[in-house]
């Protein structure tokens, strides 16, 4: 049971890393091909920050009842 929970948490961490990697490469390619789409690049940054804050920083823990 405990081992299962740890495995699931590890898996979630890995999925977040994959998403972050894809988004980072995406924004890099977008910039390299010469596009200066501010809004798209800023949207990608916000999306990446959301994944880190939600899944790595565990923001929901802050609102857990004592």
């Amino acid at each position: 049971m405990e081992e299962n929970g740890k495995k699931q948490a590890y898996q979630m961490g890995f999925y977040v890393l994959v998403v972050l990697a894809v988004l980072t490469i995406g924004e890099y390619l977008l910039a390299v091909v010469g596009a200066t789409w501010w809004s798209v690049l800023i949207f990608i940054a916000i999306l990446k920050a959301y994944f880190v804050v939600q899944n790595y920083m565990h923001l929901p823990r802050l609102f857990e009842s004592e």
Partner: protein
């Protein structure tokens, strides 16, 4: 379970909740400083960006994201009582943090074709990366302290607030770079 143990656990849970609130308030206040730097960058440089090596930017960004992954693994390991996994994850995070610092301060600062005194671009670039690097350095020191304590048998699956605080702080440093990376390396055309 004895009454004393129950009382201790209840007190610990209360302290944990207030500690979390305190840490997030600190992070919020720190975020305003970084937010101010970002606003300054867009106000002063507008649609231009410093002439930087975009590939190096991608490499250091990947290193920092990878370090966040290992920090998350380390925290998860300790939360499940896996001390070896925690020590391994913390050490890898620490090493990646040092590599990031070397990449930015040791390489990027040396090859950048402008100095801090070279007008607005130099001021913005070195202030943003310098302030962020200082946070990475403090994070590395925090990691070293937590690693040492972990090796000495501190922390458990039930009580590991210092590990959680270290992880949240480290991820915050990562989040800041998530915004600094496009602002410095990707958005806009190279200033002539």
């Amino acid at each position: 379970m004895s009454t004393e143990t129950l009382k201790y656990r209840s007190e610990y849970k209360y302290k944990l909740a207030t500690n979390r609130l305190g840490l997030w308030l600190f992070i919020l206040s720190d975020a305003f400083v970084f937010g101010g730097l970002l606003v300054a960058r867009f106000y002063l440089l507008g649609d231009t960006r410093p002439e930087l090596d975009q590939t190096l930017g991608l490499i250091v960004t990947s290193i920092l994201l990878l370090s966040s992954f290992f920090m998350n693994r380390a925290e998860t390991a300790m939360a499940h009582g896996d001390r070896q996994g925690f020590l391994r994850g913390t050490l890898i995070t620490l090493v990646l943090g040092v590599v990031f610092l070397v990449g930015v301060v040791g390489v990027e600062w040396q090859i950048a074709p402008f100095k801090a005194s070279d007008g607005v671009i130099g001021s913005i670039f070195y202030t943003m990366t310098g302030f962020h690097a200082f946070h990475v350095l403090t994070g590395v020191i925090f990691l070293a302290v937590v690693y040492r304590n972990g090796r000495n048998g501190h922390y458990s699956a039930e009580e590991h607030w210092a590990v959680e605080a270290c992880a949240v702080y480290w991820h915050f440093v990562d989040v800041v770079w998530i915004f600094f990376y496009p602002a410095l390396y990707l958005i806009g055309t190279v200033a002539g």
